[in-house]
């Protein structure tokens, strides 16, 4: 070794002390909570979703009647006894609505979970193995995103039969593509980071790199996608049920609308208490999740971009 001692004489020998720096200085300045538009939007979403979830959980205490029981004369107008009237077979509409929150939210959340699992798996694999696996998977994703949902949904539902599980699976299997795409682009950028290269140089396996350096970094993004997917899934469930393709044994908001339509409530002034309330609830649920998802995404994205 020729060059033992180095001559950069004006500078001191290796520092054993730390060079200047703010050891305690937090990067926490970023992402601090300020009351801005995004926060307000997010809070509105949380209130809507929280209210509906509470309703679903507390349904037995909130609902005046058992929604399956015929408690009155059919086709009654709202009254003190039946705040939203009764349906075509004399069940209390308010109780149906309250219990309907359980079905609608469950389908939405479980279907979105299915979408989250598929979408994250596909997105991570397509981003990590971007050459062959990635292009094949993303071709498939593109097709799925182009196909109009509803016709496919109807065909699948009609073919597979009407059950809650089928509804959930069909919706989940149709809506993961958006999640996959978002996750993939995040993974693509993550795999270019130097610390991934360093891990590879250390001999880390793909599984370790994905599990330790990639998955945890896409989790937040996955959650925001999940919340948005829930919104879409609730709408899709309502559409399916409204078309009579939902589980005939479950009362969701969509199926209340289906029976209202079948019994002609849309054409009489019964729409005011039979059609409008489930419609509003579907809208509120979808909007609540969408707002939450939007706010989450706003919070996450800039942070991921600047946060190396």
């Amino acid at each position: 070794m020729t060059a033992g001692g180095v001559s950069l004489p004006e500078l001191p020998e290796p520092a054993v002390r730390l060079e200047s720096t703010p050891i305690g200085a937090p990067a926490a300045a970023r992402g601090r909570l300020t009351i801005d538009g995004t926060t307000v939007i997010g809070l509105v979403g949380v209130v809507l979703v929280g209210g509906l979830i509470l309703t679903a959980i507390l349904a037995p205490f909130l609902a005046p009647y058992d929604p399956r029981e015929r408690v009155g004369i059919p086709f009654q107008r709202p009254s003190a006894l039946y705040p939203l009237g009764t349906n075509d077979i004399g069940q209390d509409l308010l109780s149906e609505l309250i219990y309907g929150a359980r079905v609608s939210l469950t389908v939405g959340i479980v279907a979105a979970t299915v979408a989250l699992i598929i979408g994250t798996t596909v997105g991570v694999l397509a981003g990590f193995y971007r050459r062959i696996v990635g292009s094949v998977l993303m071709r498939f994703v593109d097709i799925l995103l182009i196909i109009p949902f509803l016709p496919l949904l109807i065909v699948l539902a009609a073919y597979l039969g009407r059950s809650l599980l089928n509804t959930i699976l069909i919706i989940g299997v149709l809506i993961w593509a958006a999640t996959a795409r978002v996750i993939r682009s995040q993974v693509l950028s993550l795999t270019q980071r130097d610390y991934i290269r360093a891990a590879r140089a250390l001999g880390a396996s793909d599984a370790r790199i994905i599990g330790r350096h990639i998955l945890p970094r896409v989790l937040l993004l996955g959650i925001s996608q999940f919340v948005q997917a829930t919104s879409g899934a609730i709408l899709l469930e309502a559409s399916l049920s409204f078309l009579g393709l939902g589980d005939p044994l479950q009362k969701s908001w969509g199926s209340i609308l289906y029976w209202a339509q079948v019994r002609g409530a849309f054409l009489t002034d019964a729409w005011l208490w039979w059609v409008l309330p489930p419609g509003l609830l579907i809208g509120a649920a979808a909007l609540g999740f969408a707002l939450m998802g939007f706010a989450l995404e706003q919070r996450i994205n800039p942070q991921l971009r600047s946060g190396r």
């Binding site: 020729t2 033992g4 001191p12 730390l18 703010p22 050891i23 130097d194 610390y195 360093a198 590879r200």
Partner: protein, 393 residues
């Protein structure tokens, strides 16, 4: 004193097992032969439009225990070459052997074993540490991957590594954002050392740092080299850093190695116009010598490695080519490396003319020269029988 297990620093690098050199010990640690690394360029429709020829036919040898300095402008392919040696990118053609083993051909298990022996220190200290992991986890990951120093040994070993690189062990539970660039680079060095490597690619380890900190990190690397007996491939974009620490120096331009030789020889008698241009960019502390020096400035940018100029790739910017009246040879015929001094090869058709020129040479101790230098016979004339194309330079 540093609290190493198995006593002393020797244990830090002593590899558990070494593949026996194929031909009985005379091998260089790293042997690269006619290496090509091309990156395909894809158009919007997924069509392949051609290749970025980041490394395009490079051969080199790195001897055990030496520091090989690799210089060249940004974009000349240094990083890609370093990555290819560690198989962080796939090589398109050519051969890389580490201690006799074909790096491109080894299986997954053997590759993991190789990766304990060769490591990398990355240029950007901000991007090279996972911002979501504590220092302990960052360094610990290196240990975990290879099942080294697990259980009760883990913590003390991480502490020992931190103090080895001049950091206080108490910072093990901090996140990277709490550290300065220099400190982060130390953490990156500790991570690389965790697996007790023999060979480290230092990819511009100080260029992203404050000038005041550069020397500290450089000195750290030198101390580690001598204490741990490391072999370095030290990449830098200019010659000033490399000159102090390298035994041999290689100069890359646009994916090719244009000159290789002992550091002393390269600095005193470079035979390539590109190296001379790089040399003349080095600041000289002695103002008298600075005034006497003939300098050339490299004009323009390095051409695109997707379509390198024909013939000698440097001819579009070569001052000698211009001075010689644009000889056709430079435009049509790629120069083949030839030996101009012991262990010193140059790929230039007009190496003799370069040698005769004073461009970029610092004559700090020489008396003031008036007029052109007489033709000084160099270390023997250019060797007869130029080496084969692709022969190690």
């Amino acid at each position: 004193m540093l609290g190493y297990r198995h006593g002393g620093l020797a244990a830090v690098t002593a590899p558990v097992e070494r593949a026996a050199p194929v031909d009985g010990g005379a091998r260089d640690l790293v042997e690269v032969d006619d290496l090509k690394v091309h990156f395909p360029i894809f158009g919007s429709l997924g069509r392949r439009h051609g290749d970025v020829r980041a490394v395009d036919g490079v051969s080199l040898r790195i001897r055990r225990g030496e520091t090989f300095g690799l210089v060249g402008e940004s974009g000349s392919g240094k990083t890609t070459l370093g990555h290819a040696i560690l198989r962080l990118v796939h090589s398109t053609a050519g051969q890389i052997r580490f201690d006799g083993q074909d790096v491109a051909a080894v299986g997954a298990r053997e590759l993991r074993r190789l990766r304990r022996r060769m490591q990398i220190i990355l240029q950007d200290p901000y991007g090279s540490l996972d911002p979501y992991l504590r220092v302990e986890a960052i360094i610990g990951e290196a240990l975990d991957i290879h099942g080294l120093d697990q259980g009760p040994d883990r913590k003390p070993r991480i502490a020992a590594l931190l103090s080895l690189v001049g950091l206080d062990a108490q910072y093990a539970n901090r996140f990277p954002h709490a550290f300065s660039g220099g400190q982060r680079q130390r953490i990156g060095i500790a991570r690389a050392l965790a697996v007790r490597p023999e060979f480290i690619v230092c990819d511009e380890p100080i260029s992203a740092l404050d000038v005041s900190i550069q020397a500290q990190i450089l000195n750290l690397l030198l101390r580690l080299r001598s204490e741990l007996g490391l072999t370095y491939l030290f990449i830098a974009h200019d010659l000033s850093v490399v000159r102090h620490i390298s035994d041999r120096v290689g100069v890359m331009y646009l994916g090719t190695m244009v000159e290789v030789g002992p550091a002393v020889s390269i600095y005193a008698r470079s035979g390539h116009p590109y190296t001379r241009a790089l040399l003349s960019a080095i600041p000289v502390p002695n103002p008298g010598a600075e005034r006497r020096r003939r300098r050339v400035i490299l004009r323009g940018d390095i051409p695109s490695p997707a379509s390198p100029p024909p013939g000698c790739r440097f001819h579009t910017r070569c001052w000698l080519y211009e001075g010689l009246g644009s000889p056709e040879r430079c435009r049509t015929e790629p120069p083949i490396p030839r030996t101009i001094a012991p262990d010193h090869q140059v790929a230039c058709h007009f190496a003799d003319e370069t040698l005769a020129s004073e461009v970029g040479v610092v004559q700090s101790d020489a008396p003031v020269q008036v007029g052109p230098l007489p033709d000084v016979p160099m270390h023997g004339a250019p060797m007869p029988g130029a080496p084969m194309p692709g022969a190690p330079m």
